[in-house]
Structure formats: structure tokens, C-alpha cells
Amino acid sequence: MTPSRSATLARAATLRARFEDAGGQVVETPVLQPAGTLLDLYGEDIRARAYVTSDALRGEQMLRPDFTVPVVQMHMEHGADPARYTYAGEVFRRQEQDPDRANEYIQVGYELFDRSGSAAADAEVFALIAETLKGLPLHAATGDIGILMAAVQGLNTSDARKSALMRHLWHPRRFRALLERFSGRASPPPSRQALLAQDDPLHGHAPLIGKRRLSDVEARIDVLRADAMAPPITTQELTALEALLKVRETLPHALERLRDVAVDLPQISPALDRLAARIKALSARGIDTDALDFEASYGRTSMEYYDGFVFGFYAQARPDLPPIATGGRYDALTRRLGKGAEIPAVGGVLRPDLMLLLEEGRS
């Protein structure tokens, strides 16, 4: 049975008080958020996930799909760091595919802004959430987007190809297709080959209409010509990248595997040192890292703003439920929202309603 709203709110208050004890300063954010910022961050996809409304004065507004963005904005405007924040309140998610998923639910969160960007901060947030969920039949998954980012940025290929891969880190299908092409495993589409075979593909072109100008088309043709000349990504690098993406083990073993991969992708070594430091910091907080799972691909499909450590807690016996808690490091988000400023940040949120649901099922 779905827990009542009052029971959920009571639990949310307890959880927030607990995060307050851990040092979190309580913050409130408006329910209505300016749509521009969120659209800029997430693109058109956010419209499928968030409710959009509007008025003639303020234009498009969104019903808060999460707290992270407004909390980051608030901190960057007038917060002093290090800072810890906690909050509890409704978030709204448009549901078009699954009528059983809630379109409005309570989230309780804890965010830590800390300039050292240390493994200790990662461990503090993870351990706090894990401790809060103690006793529930959950399985924790962890990952680290930073390792994959480092691998891509260090590839021995053109900057254009690297930035294309970086753009699609969160779209595994397109990432895969790009890799196939850049490594020469897949040939370019026939239309591309035909275009590049012409000396002057724009000769006798159709009327110039629209805001994408002739110079835009010419510039892209130049990019395509340069790309056709670029040597393929080597089999060695490609195989290593594939091995990296497949790593799925308990933490210490995963680190060993990744150290093997780093023989061919030395660019990931600093990120692996950070992973090693995180394992140590988690152990120091009492987390059994020998039993904690790590997946190199974890967080690639739905956690677009995370760019380092990522984690989620899932109900083992209820695969139909969304994660009970999720979180991670989002330094890049603070850079995007900070207008030049940035501050390393890590946080996590949990769902009191789902916690109650699982407790009820157990008793």
C-alpha cells in the first residue's frame, strides 16, 4: 500500500533533522523554476520529464524537477564554502509511459560544497545516505563518470572527435556509433562519401533560407574533410575503452581491473588514484568496500549532470521501483551555473515514501 502523505511528510522531517545534525543548513527553494536554466542544462528532453507552465510576465516556468539546480544557484550567489545544505519537499516529474510511477513525490537531500573536492567529501555523503537507509533490503551501485571522461579526453585523436564523444557520454547508443566510425570499424554513410567526393558540393545550390547560413554549411564541410583525413582511433585504444566500459566488480577488484586497462589508457591513472583514495575514505567511514559494487558504465543514462563519483540504492526484491536514493559529484554543473565561478560539490537525495513502503512490506 502507498504510504499516506502525512506519514511521508513526518518521515521527511525526521530525515531532514538527521541531515541537519550532520551539519546541513536547512534551505527552501521555490517550486516554480525559470524554464530557461533547466532547458539550457538538459535540452528538450527535460520537457518530457518536467511540467512546464507559463504566464505572460515571466514566460515559461517549470515545476521543480529536482532541488540540485536551485540549491547550486543559491549557493553560488551568496554562499560561503565549505557548506552543507539539507532540504525536503516535493519534486514533480511528468510521467507519460508508466502510470504507476509517481508524478509528484517528496525528496530529502544533502549537498556538500567543498573546495578541496576530496574523496572525504564523497565518502561523507555516501556514508550518511547509507547509514540513513540501514536495515532496508537494498543493493548499492556505484560508479565514476570521471574515469570515462578522462579516458575520452586522453584519446589519441582530434579535438573535434573528442568533443563529439564527450557530448554523447550520456547517450550510450550514439557514443557507440561514433566510436565505431572514429575507429574505422564502420564506414561513413554513402551520402557523406558522395559529398566529400565533390570538389564544390555547394555548386548550383538551392536557395539560401533560414538562420543556418551558407557559412555554417561550409564550415561543417571543412570539419568533415578534416575528419576524413584523421587517422582512426587505434584498435589498442578502442579495445581498452571497451574493456573499461565492461568493468563490473566489487570495488577493490574493479580498481585492479581498471589498473590493467590503464596500461593502454594511461590518461585514466589520476582518476584511478582518486578512486583508490575514495575506497580508503569510504572504509574509514565504516563502509564495507569489499562488498560494494562498482560499474564503470553506471550513471551513463540518466544522471546527466554527474561527472565523478555516482551512486544509487535499489530495492533488491522490487526491481519495479525507482532507486530509493541516488547521488554523486557534479562539479561541472556548478561550472555551468556559476558564470565563470565553480565549486566542487557532491550530494544525494532519498525518497521517504519508498523507504516507508519497503518497511511496511517487511513487517
Binding site: A48, H171, D216, V223
Partner: protein, 230 residues
Amino acid sequence: MTLKLGIPSKGRLMDKTFQWFSGRGITLKRSGSDREYAGAVDGIDGVSLVLLSAGEIPRELAAGRIHLGVTGTDLIHEKLPLWQQQVQQVAALGFGQADLILAVPQFWVDVDTLDDLDAAAAAFRARHGHRLRIATKYHRLVRDFLRHAGVADYALVDSQGATEGTVLNETAEMVADITSTGETLRANHLKLLSDGLILQSQATLWRSRVAEYSKAEAIALDQMLARITG
């Protein structure tokens, strides 16, 4: 009560639907004057005609206020995210064929595939400071299609008519629209993306899965189905 059959209330779609049913011995007609939205059914018992805008028929089927209805596949898929659970396709009527497609200016010789579009959109955003705009009225279908294909850096802008003109007017850089012959596209100097076919649509007779059927209505439905499929 009678079995309610929803039909588009005007234009070629209505005329063709009337023809299709009359070919199966069922005569549908508007009663009274041309301006009156009431209708009559001959040749089968227990069926009444409801004249509606084609765009409202998906909603009426999903609400169970009509038992059967004729409308395009495009409108069913756009307006009913869970259409498989809400309606059942009874018969494709063989007219009203149209494809929902992505089209770009012909002089974009560098853009032929979704892969090209994605790269062009990224470069466009970096240079012009906003996302590449796609004019359409099929927001959900287009967004789902592009998300599945992994295309980013675009924005949908709403266009309820004369969509092909938005590029010339610089309110959008490209369009996602319904076309049957492609003539309007060509006349507006647009071309199709080779892998940009989002949906093939045609006029279709649907049955509501959620409507309630009394005994008499269930009998009328069986007779109707026998007549149509037999």
C-alpha cells in the same frame, strides 16, 4: 444505448470515410443541413454516428465516450502515450496516407542523416547561441524519436500550421511535419533526411478498449466487425 461511431466532421477525410463504409453496406450521412453536426446510420442496427474533429477522436476513444472512431495513426500516437492499452486497431482504411518526417533546407548539403543533424545542431548552438529550432505540432513523437536517436542541442517550437514557412521566416531552422507527396516541402526548398521518417500514418478505424459495452452495444459491435472484416 447504441454503439457510438466517431467520424471526422468535415472535408475529404469525412467523405472518404463515408465511401469506405458504404462499400461495406453501411450508409453514413449528415442529417439536416451541412452546418449541423448530427448524423444518421443506415444498413446496420444499433449504431449511432458522432461527428467530431479528427483531433478530438483520440481523446474521446481514450475516455470511452465513443466505442469506435476514425482518425490518423499520427494523432493516436501523438495524443495517447499509452495507445496500445487504450485503443485497438480494427482496420486501416487505405486513404489519408501521410508520413511524419524531418526536413531541412535543400542547400544543407552537409546534412543527410540524423548523425549529420546532431553534429550540425551542436555547431549551430556554439555559433548562434541557441539550440537548432525544429517547428512542429507533433511534440511528443518528435522528441521521443530524437531522444531515441541520441540527437541533442535542438529545441522544438510550436507550429500549428504553415510549418514549412517557418524556415524562410527564420522562426525555425527546420521542420518536422506530415507530408504525403512531398510537394509542399519541395516548393519551400526543403528536403527529407534519409533516416528521418518518424511515423507512417493513414486513416484508421479504432476500437476503444476502455469504453463500456452493454449487451446491445456488444451485439452491434460484433455485427459491425463481421461486416467490416468479412
